[in-house]
């Protein structure tokens, strides 16, 4: 399992109801169903991923977050709403964050931290948009249209009165260490947040 998913799984309580936005091939939900008696649905747009979820027996609903949003789900219909590595790729991340917190009591969000020192260094030294392992795209073909830093995200949470329950940062091998916990915005590559209203 991808390391950010294995961090997230520890933040999900057994027996809860989870909505996983951009659930991919259903790995996280499959794990949570099997090991934590979690009930849930994944939203996904990739046809290969949808078929894989069906094979696994993970409930998957084809829905484009960007065009359809989440208005078809009722308030507080889930205990937890998860979105891994997709916030930076949606058209209105701030509105989506509100929507996630409308549906779920708690939310988990992960995104690549654009404040990571290597990215800063890349931009400063080369004067070009950084290309890295976590951000492997060139500026014109990237799905990531709203890149942000750890600090940016926390400021958004502050403005919106969103309470941060946990946060952690990991490197591209998805490891945590004392250094990236000390200076997360500079040394963390992937930000993982657990938030609530």
């Amino acid at each position: 399992m991808r390391a950010d998913l294995s961090i997230i799984k520890d933040w999900v309580q057994p027996g809860t109801e989870v909505l996983d936005l951009g659930c991919g091939d259903g790995t996280l939900l499959d794990y949570l169903q099997t090991h934590k008696q979690v009930r849930g649905y994944g939203l996904e747009i990739s046809s290969e991923n949808i078929t894989e979820c069906l094979r696994k027996g993970v409930n998957v609903i084809e829905q484009d977050l960007d065009s359809k949003g989440l208005s078809n789900f009722k308030d507080k219909s889930f205990d937890m709403v998860v979105m891994t590595q997709a916030l930076q790729a949606v058209r209105q991340p701030d509105i989506l964050l509100d929507e996630m917190l409308r549906l779920g009591k708690e939310c988990i969000i992960t995104f690549p931290n654009f404040g990571y020192w290597r990215l800063r260094y890349y931009l400063a030294r080369k004067g070009q948009m950084p290309v890295s392992k976590t951000l492997p795209y060139t500026w014109y073909n990237t799905p990531n249209i709203h890149l942000c830093t750890f600090k940016d995200f926390e400021e958004l949470c502050y403005q919106k009165n969103i309470h941060i329950l946990h946060r952690t940062v990991v490197d591209d091998e998805h490891r945590t260490n004392w250094l990236n916990q000390l200076w997360p915005n500079l040394l963390g590559q992937i930000a993982i947040y657990h938030v609530t209203r």
């Binding site: 949808i50 069906l54 094979r55 696994k56 084809e62 829905q63 219909s77």
Partner: protein, 385 residues
């Protein structure tokens, strides 16, 4: 005609008849004291009777869903693309049951059958049947075949409504349900199209208020019109355009008002005529009525999620992008209600140019989705063959 039976076909199949002499009270309040259902089966029932799959047919469908009746058959059963060895409804794994619904005209008791009480054909006196009645009669067939529960109940269009009704009415007898190109209830536009079809039939001078049998006539013109209207709604503008465009049958315009000039006209005429020779007009009226009436939410003040509450199965809902008879948002309405009722559901909106008919056409994405779902259904069977 198949010169050789393809390896992924169920091969030559023989329909069977189940006779019931047990009274069945219908939703309309009338009772059938006896009736028969025509059905076919494909594959083998396993020892613990856990691998049975029920196929529910759409408006003009019947029991012959897969394989051939003889080597002289020009076409296989109506859903042969999805049923057979290695196909999504894999007959190496599943025992498939497909039947002609009550009120049908392909061997099951219907308007053209003899009413044992009068010795004459029922004709228009055959009681109005509903999706609920069909499901109840299908449960009687399941009992007869000693099938305690279905690994899956599957249907497209009107068949999808039956699968949905099964899941609500017999939650302990359905493990999985696939509702394909369907809707939890018809829209006003859908009902309007059905009404045009019915009016075409009933206003045919040969209709004789449904007693055409006694007059030894047949409202074939009306039935043909009904089918033509229906057929337009089954295709998409794109698929019609691709198939026929504005192609002329002859090279030049004839400037005649009554000539069949465009290929698409000729196609509709052909489809309508062929249908009017094979289908009973009273059955068409009954089936469209059953479509109109279906609305499981009605008994719950329109709250579909309440209606779904008893269901225990895992659902698959599939829609097709160019289906304008039951477009994707009708399926989404159903999926949303299932989520609200906290049911297990997966939903795929398949990109297809084929309109409503897409559920019969084995496009890659559709087959992948169907295979994925049915593969998991097969894995759940305790002793999969």
């Amino acid at each position: 005609m198949p010169e050789v039976i393809p390896p992924d076909s169920v091969g030559i199949v023989t329909p069977q008849v189940a006779q019931f002499d047990i009274p069945l009270t219908l939703e309309c309040g009338k009772q059938l004291n006896s009736f028969q259902l025509m059905y076919e089966t494909y594959g083998e029932l396993n020892a613990d009777r856990s691998n049975a799959v029920l196929i529910c047919h759409a408006l003009s469908g019947h029991h012959h869903a897969a394989g051939y009746h003889s080597m002289e058959d020009s076409k296989p059963g109506w859903w042969d693309s999805c049923i057979g060895p290695g196909k999504p409804i894999d007959t190496n794994k599943f025992f498939v049951v497909s039947l002609n619904n009550l009120g049908g005209c392909a061997g099951s008791t219907g308007p053209a059958s003899i009413n044992p009480e009068t010795g004459k054909a029922y004709g228009p006196d055959f009681p109005v049947v509903t999706v609920q009645d069909w499901v109840r009669s299908q449960a009687m067939l399941a009992d007869r075949l000693n099938i305690p529960h279905w690994a899956a109940v599957i249907g497209g269009s009107l068949g999808g409504m039956q699968a949905l009704q099964w899941s609500i009415e017999y939650p302990d007898r359905v493990h999985n349900a696939a509702v394909i190109a369907s809707t939890p209830r018809l829209s006003a536009q859908n009902i309007a199209f059905n009404e045009v079809a019915r009016k075409a039939i009933t206003s045919d001078p040969n209709f004789h208020e449904g007693r055409y049998g006694e007059h030894t006539t047949y409202p074939d013109k009306g039935l043909m019109l009904a089918r033509m209207v229906g057929h337009i709604t089954y295709l998409s503008n794109a698929s019609m355009g691709e198939k026929f465009g504005r192609d002329l049958r002859a090279q030049t315009l004839k400037f005649g008002l009554l000539d069949v000039q465009f290929e698409v006209e000729s196609y509709l005429h052909y489809q309508g005529e062929r249908f009017s020779k094979n289908f009973d007009a009273n059955t068409y009226l009954l089936m469209t009525r059953a479509l109109d009436y279906f609305d499981p939410a009605r008994a719950h003040d329109g709250d579909l999620s309440k209606a779904l509450e008893p269901a225990k199965c895992k659902y698959l809902v599939v829609s097709f992008t160019t289906d304008w008879r039951f477009p994707p948002d009708r399926s989404e309405e159903l999926v949303n209600a299932m989520v609200e009722a906290k049911k297990s559901v997966s939903y795929a909106e398949v990109d297809s140019p084929h309109g409503h008919d897409a559920f019969l056409i084995p496009t890659q994405r559709y087959m992948d989705v169907f295979h994925g779902f049915m593969g998991r259904v097969a894995k759940e069977i305790p002793h999969a063959r």
